[in-house]
């Protein structure tokens, strides 16, 4: 598979890895060399694969649910208790298969079945689950074409081994990170969450050339369970969106991620996998007297009670399509949608029925619920900031692997490879942007009054697109704005009054402006 490589970074990185492979590929296979070979081969292979995106977060943050929502199918099993215990890879493949890889590298096919809840993977016969390194699920799905998704166990699990599996996958000691990008889920920004994000952004080690293991630029924070933030009311996800906005500006979180997005994972998953029967059930509910239905939706318990109030029962029984909303049916609806989901769905269906426009059938309901769940925004964000910058994320992972090898298994003849690595890491503008953005957000560089925000934006802090960088509304004159910014920042870069660190930022911003102009002309 050949991936788009607009920056030429992947090609350059491939060149560096190949150089290193030639170096380490010959000679006796003593343990360090064998290790280096394995790391480099893996790095080389990754450059030709889809991007690896890990879903991480604390216990019960909704990682598996969001994974299903992103894939558009129920593949990862979910449950009210702690469910995911192993690092599980989901990758696109021509046919379905589940393979378990033990910590010693041995692989074996694992039997599995699939039901409405997701994949049931039979790990029976293994004996000691501690032996299993990871599970590889091959699944033919369009949702996995662009990125391999990796589900991870909860990070603050009381069962500590589970948390350790996740950490050693995202931030291992003896390998480059297993993930090119991380979607981090949290309920609220707890101090523990900040701790984990720091580990991913790897501010501590700095990484090669100041780039992190995954890097803040490869981390998207999701305020999951957005429906609960606002108390499950109709405006819950909107309220959660405001909270996400506040976190985006929080000095503790800003340096650690690209952005924060609010998503109701359960609703998103259900909307992506909406069934016709569910649509009919919801429509029947929307047709029933509103006050009664609202009273029924005051709590999950009321909705799933065996005997709803007589008025509702009557209304539900007299549905023109003959949909029967008996107790098991209501239970299933609650499982799939949650209180917020049912409230939202019935509201938009009622409006659709009244006006005859908007949400009138199953596909339009799914679409509206995807929008309301926040999944739409998350997918846009992922596309523009992560998948769209695949070249940068993958090149970084590969170069960090080479850097690790050169540092841990040094060779006297590694000079040329090291020099080229250095040139790329410090010279490539995409990396410079990431590094300076991190420095600005951490407050390591002090910019002249009132220019820091614009510098961040132009360096891609609000998104890598030209319009996002220039802060333009659609339809605005990009060229004029870019030229104007270029001019201003060139003056700043050349002014003798600008401090050295600030001048470095200004020069990088100038290059970014030039890049924006070029991108427009293409």
């Amino acid at each position: 598979m050949t991936a788009p490589d607009p920056s030429g970074l992947v090609g350059a990185a491939r060149h560096v890895v190949d150089g290193a492979l030639r170096l380490y590929g010959t000679g006796p296979a003593d343990p360090p060399t064998a290790w280096a070979r394995a790391v480099l081969h893996d790095a080389r292979a990754r450059l030709d694969e889809p991007l690896r995106v890990a879903l991480a977060g604390t216990l019960k943050a909704g990682k598996s649910t969001l994974l299903n929502a992103l894939v558009g199918e129920r593949v990862a099993a979910t449950d009210a208790g702690e469910c995911t215990r192993l690092v599980t890879w989901y990758r696109d493949a021509p046919s379905a298969a589940v393979v378990r890889e033990d910590v010693d590298g041995r692989r074996a096919a694992v039997p599995f079945t699939r039901d409405a809840e997701g994949l049931r993977i039979d790990l029976g016969g293994i004996g000691d689950p501690g032996r299993v390194g990871r599970l590889l699920v091959d699944w033919p799905s369009r949702g996995l074409a662009e990125a391999t998704l990796v589900d991870t166990p909860g990070l603050d699990s009381i069962r500590e081994t589970n948390s350790r599996r996740t950490l050693s996958f995202v931030t291992p000691d003896d390998r480059p990170s297993g993930a090119d990008a991380v979607v981090y889920l949290m309920r609220h920004a707890h101090r523990n969450d900040v701790g984990f994000l720091e580990a991913f952004a790897d501010l501590a080690q700095g990484g090669a050339g100041g780039l992190g293991a995954v890097g803040a630029s490869g981390t998207i924070v999701v305020l999951s369970r957005a429906d609960e933030v606002g108390g499950g009311g109709l405006d819950a996800v909107t309220t959660a969106g405001q909270v996400a906005q506040a976190y985006r500006e929080d000095p503790a979180l800003r340096p650690l991620c690209q952005t924060v997005v609010a998503v109701d994972g359960l609703l998103a998953e259900t909307a992506r996998t909406l069934r016709q029967a569910e649509f009919s059930a919801l429509r029947a509910l929307a047709r029933a007297p509103r006050a009664e239905v609202d009273a029924l939706l005051l709590s999950a318990d009321r909705f799933t009670a065996a005997e709803p109030p007589a008025v509702v029962a009557e209304a539900l029984a007299s549905d023109p399509d003959g949909v029967r909303l008996d107790e098991p049916a209501r239970r299933r609806l609650m499982e799939r949608f949650g209180v917020f989901g049912i409230r939202s769905a019935t509201t938009v269906l009622r409006r659709g029925a009244r006006t005859g426009r908007g949400v009138v059938d199953s596909p339009s309901l799914a679409e509206e619920l995807i929008r309301r769940s926040g999944l739409g925004e998350l997918r846009d964000t992922l596309t523009s900031r992560v998948l769209g910058r695949r070249d940068v994320h993958q090149a970084r992972s590969a170069l960090l692997a080479v850097d690790l090898v050169l540092g841990r298994a040094p060779r006297p003849d590694a000079g040329p490879v090291a020099a080229e690595l250095e040139r790329l890491l410090t010279g490539a503008h995409a990396f410079t942007e990431q590094r300076l953005l991190a420095a600005l957000r951490q407050g390591q560089v002090t910019m002249p009054e009132g220019t820091a925000a614009e510098a961040e934006r132009l360096l891609g802090g609000d998104g890598p697109g030209v319009a996002e960088r220039l802060g333009l509304e659609p339809g605005a004159d990009v060229r004029a704005a870019a030229l104007e910014a270029l001019d201003r920042w060139r003056t700043r870069a050349e002014s003798p009054l600008t401090s050295r660190a600030a001048a470095e930022v200004a020069r990088a911003v100038v290059r970014s402006c030039e890049g924006a102009l070029r991108a427009r002309e293409h």
Binding site: H190, R191, E198, A204, T239, A246, S299, A300, D301
Partner: protein
């Protein structure tokens, strides 16, 4: 709670007994009653609402109050504790300690604000990180549910920039009940479980309140899982913690939607679990009242019995001078036995001294063991990172680990201490064998064990059957293992729990230098960081070790004084009794006059005792009602 005692009657009863003690020349009893008077003064139960930040604490308080009295927000959390109490007029007063300019020490500043402006002062909105420095807000609200309560809404633990966990811990000791608020959407996390554990050790009634059951269809399973977590800890105190699922949203809906038919509103309130919580709180308030009543009446009855014994002996001697010597001799024998109780060689003294020595070494070992584990973890963590860059995150983590270790240690120490106190009380009773009746201490968490047999407590001892001295002893049973002693111990343990949280200033200082010296080699920084960790932990062991030794010594002193004083009072009563019996006038006319006086005094004492008994019978006895405070 319509028959709440106003408190004035109890205060008056104790004051009367104190005057009697002065009149009968018993300053020892007067001192004891003064302590009782102070303990009886505060008649409101303090209930804390604690939990992780954004758990829905304020929402729950609002639901309890039946309306949105306190500000809530989806994003911004509460930063200043708010104390809600009952009053006819709604009002809010902000309180903070200020250094007075004349250097006359700290004083307290009060500022009245309108209730509507509360959000500007107690949430992140208007007062982020509580920069204004308010210690708390006192809200007075005309809500009946608050009668007899002080409901404290605390800032949550674990927010991005809140050092609130420490202030939460500081509030715990002495609380009559603690509501630990957790989300019904997931099982208790490790920090939440630790909070419950600490609360259960220092407060008699702890309830885990699950919130937002309206949103989580699986709350029953979560409640079961939580129940399992609590039961598996193996602590009786934690097994007694109740898990109560609630939905503030339902309760508020029921309270605020005026269009709802009354029976629907009632059903909603019932379903929300908040109604149950209200009952539970009224029970807490009732318990506080019962305890006050029990404490006051116990002590007054004991004092009355001591007064009466002397007069009774004198009366018997006056009525029949031939018996006077016999009575005096009998009382003298009892007095000697009572004197033996004060003896250093008495068994309870041995038990106390040996027990405290053992405790000191056990507790110190436990502390070292816990903190050694923290050091191991910390060093492993430091090996992987550059402390120059991570120290600012590392330091709070370390502080939290150390604090957790220390508070667990203190809690354990507190449990062992209580156990020791019970043993000493038992031995005290056994030492005075034949003089003192057996005792049950602390059979229930608030030391209400003595009330297990309220009928025996209330009945006046039968003088004819037991003889003068013995009936005195039975009357005194409340005084050597009762509410007063347990109350004293709880306060001591609470202080010990507070102290560890003040240790940690040194750590923050250490962090400055590490961050400043970024230029040094990584290895060196790591080595220095490890050193700093060890130094800090050493400091903590030194401080906390000293604290726990001090606490135990304080416990030892308190128990020794308590029992010695009791023995002394006993002896003094008996010796006064013996004197009274001996000093019978030979002259018939004078004897008759004195007899009349004594009879009159006895009647007065009996009237006082009767009043105490009436007071007690009127108020107490909620024993027939099943308690809601104890879990299934």
């Amino acid at each position: 709670m319509t028959d709440q005692p106003t408190g004035a009657e109890l205060t008056e009863l104790v004051a009367l007994a104190r005057r009697a003690a002065t009149a009968y020349d018993r300053p020892d009893l007067e001192r004891r009653l003064a302590v009782v008077a102070r303990a009886v003064e505060d008649d409101r139960a303090r209930v804390l609402v604690v939990g992780e930040f954004k758990a829905g604490k304020t929402e729950l308080v609002n639901a309890l109050l039946g309306g949105r009295a306190l500000p809530t927000d989806a994003h911004r959390a509460t930063t200043v504790p708010t104390v809600c109490g009952h009053g006819e007029q709604a009002g809010v007063v902000l309180v903070r300690g200020v250094e007075s300019p004349e250097g006359s020490g700290p004083s307290v500043e009060h500022q009245s604000i309108s209730p509507g402006a509360l959000a500007e002062h107690v949430t992140e909105n208007g007062n982020p990180d509580n920069r204004a420095g308010w210690s708390h807000a006192e809200a007075t609200l005309p809500r009946p549910v608050l009668e007899g309560l002080r409901l404290v809404d605390t800032p949550g633990a674990g927010g991005l920039a809140s050092p609130a966990a420490v202030s939460t811990m500081a509030e715990l000791p002495g609380a009559d009940a603690v509501l630990v608020v957790a989300d019904a959407g997931r099982e208790l996390t490790a920090p939440e479980l630790a909070l419950v554990r600490t609360a259960a050790a220092v407060s008699p009634a702890v309830v885990v309140v699950l919130t937002r059951t309206d949103l989580h269809p699986h709350w029953r399973r979560i409640a079961d899982i939580d129940r399992g977590h609590l039961d598996r800890t193996g602590h009786d105190a934690l097994r007694a913690v109740r898990v109560l699922p609630t939905s503030a949203a339902l309760a508020l809906h029921a309270a605020e939607d005026g269009d709802l038919p009354p029976e629907t509103a009632r059903a909603l309130a019932e379903e929300s679990g908040v109604e149950e919580l209200r009952h539970l709180l009224s029970e807490v308030a009732q318990r506080r009242q019962d305890r006050r009543v029990r404490l006051a009446t116990d002590e007054v009855l004991v004092a009355c019995e001591q007064f009466a014994t002397t007069f009774r002996a004198e009366r018997d001697a006056l009525a029949d001078p031939a018996r006077a010597q016999r009575i005096a001799a009998e009382v003298e024998r009892a007095r000697n036995r009572a004197a033996g109780l004060r003896d250093r060689a008495a068994r309870w003294q041995q038990t106390l001294n040996d027990g405290v020595a053992d405790l000191v070494s056990d507790i110190e070992y436990d502390l070292r063991d816990r903190l050694r584990a923290v050091i191991t973890d910390a060093e492993a963590a430091l090996d992987d990172t550059d402390p120059g860059k991570t120290w600012e995150q590392f330091a709070p983590w370390l502080h939290q680990q150390v604090s957790a270790g220390v508070s667990t240690n203190v809690v354990w120490a507190e449990e062992r201490t209580r156990w020791l106190a019970e043993k000493v009380a038992t031995h005290f009773a056994e030492d005075g064998e034949g003089v003192l009746p057996p005792v049950t201490v602390g059979a229930s968490p608030d030391g209400a064990g003595l009330a297990a047999d309220p009928v025996a407590m209330l009945a006046a001892p039968d003088h004819e059957k037991f003889g003068v001295a013995q009936s005195l002893m039975i009357g005194m049973r409340g005084s050597y293992g009762g509410v007063l002693m347990i109350g004293m111990l709880t306060t001591i343990a609470g202080m010990a729990l507070l102290n560890p949280f003040s240790v940690g200033a040194g750590l923050l200082l250490g962090s400055k230098t590490l961050v400043d010296e970024r230029k040094r080699a990584l290895r060196r920084r790591q080595a220095e960081a490890k050193q700093a960790v060890r130094r800090h932990v050493d400091d903590v062991i030194f401080q906390a070790g000293k604290n726990s030794r001090d606490m135990l010594r304080e416990v030892q002193r308190t128990l020794r004084d308590h029992f010695t004083t009791t023995a002394e009072e006993l002896e003094r009563s008996l010796s006064a009794t013996a004197d009274a019996a001996r000093a019978v006038e030979a002259d018939g006319a004078k004897r008759a006059a004195r007899l009349a006086d004594v009879e009159a005094e006895l009647e007065r004492v009996a009237a006082l005792a009767e009043r105490a008994r009436r007071e007690r019978a009127r108020r107490s006895p909620s024993s027939s009602r099943p308690s809601r405070l104890v879990g299934a």
